[in-house]
Symmetry: C2
DNA sequence: GGAAATTAATCAAACGATTGATTAATTTTG
DNA sequence: CAAAATTAATCAATCGTTTGATTAATTTCC
């Protein structure tokens, strides 16, 4: 049957993403990728040219998927605060549903050695940031938000989520807590959304 | 002169830290470390046993230096809010004065492959976290703070700072902005402290 | 429609280069 | 002189990549 014909190209991408997330780019060998994917080593270069080619392909796929998600929100005819809360919910869900990739992305962002990748990630993030910036700035201009340091508020929203993903033990001191457990993940998601929505509501709309 | 006698052991540590920060642990070779430090390759194993031995030594040194800083604050006879503001200022300064190391630490925290190192970093952070937790919890109990999700507030404080360090372009969209430039760093530091102090003040003390 | 030519996919084996580590000899130092 | 420090040379292992050959599928041609 045709359904049984597994796509080796995709198998390599899947295996590589898993391994890159777990042990980093340099920490993953092409032999590991070949073994994990069930493909021959030569297939990696055959399809992607090089190990870095695989990495870039993974990033491009993911980033493209990300970009297509948040656009609609800003067109809704709702208040700035409601928009922001929608964005927060979307962001928390997206990132906590892809914790491994998010970790990998941040790891890459903190390296100076692959500028092409750094710029790619930076640009992808910048786009989403501008969207949040627009929402908050609009809210300030129409008087519904206090005058705040917009970029810092964005850093707070994004930083909080990233911090939860990278260091979950910070949030839940309970030792047998596991983000890969759907039940635990749900708990963290809800807490993160509730906290960030509450925080932004109070900080942006409290008259003072 | 004795002043010219440079300590090869320390030179290796310095070079290794610099390279680990720039290109990661796996991305740095022992030959690079030797070249950068001016020492022979064998000296690395002579002094530290292995490449990982160098890494562990660097981490231990740094973590020990960190732990000795924040203790005094909690003994002061000042309000919970003032304590928290002192902690924020201390944290921002410490981390922005050691951006390279902080990046490396977070990179290591997001990998699953060196559990010994992961636990070491986790424990070091946990200690500082408990201190902040104590301050906020005390503030809640004596009625000066609102009832909030304490661990989430901590995630927000730490996450915001980390986010600024790892992705400075998020805060300043200006392209010719450089964290290694003392003047630019001062600007970011002040903005970060002002933002976080303002944020915590409003969120924790606004009656609602 | 069926032989011939072309293409894509896959494989085991080997490539040169680099890795972290170790040896044994030599120099420096107290 | 003996211990510590330093060196050049070398080790086996692994790295990412390339090779030439083989199979399976597709296209071309008469």
């Amino acid at each position: 049957m045709k359904t049984e014909k597994v796509d080796k190209k995709q198998a390599i991408l899947d295996a590589a993403e898993k391994l890159f997330c777990e042990t980093g780019y340099e920490g993953t060998s092409t032999r590991q990728i070949a073994k994990e994917s069930g493909a021959n080593m030569a297939m990696i270069n055959y399809y992607f040219g090089s190990k870095e080619g695989v990495f870039i392909e993974i990033m491009n796929e993911r980033i493209a998927g990300f970009a297509s998600q948040l656009k609609i929100i800003n067109e809704d005819k709702i208040s700035a605060l409601e928009k922001l809360h929608k964005v927060i919910e979307g962001y928390v869900n997206r990132i906590l549903n892809n914790t491994a990739f998010h970790k990998m992305m941040h790891r890459e962002l903190s390296l100076t050695q692959r500028p092409e990748m750094y710029d790619k990630i930076k640009d992808a993030m910048s786009h989403n940031m501008q969207l949040i910036d627009r929402i908050i700035t609009d809210g300030i201009e129409d008087g519904s938000f206090n005058k705040v340091d917009v970029r810092m508020v964005i850093a707070t929203i994004m930083g909080t989520i990233t911090n939860i993903v990278i260091a979950p033990h910070k949030v839940i001191s309970c030792s047998n807590f596991d983000l890969s457990n759907p039940k635990d993940k749900k708990i963290i998601k809800d807490r993160a959304v509730a906290h960030l929505q509450d925080l932004t509501t109070v900080y942006l709309t409290t008259k003072r």
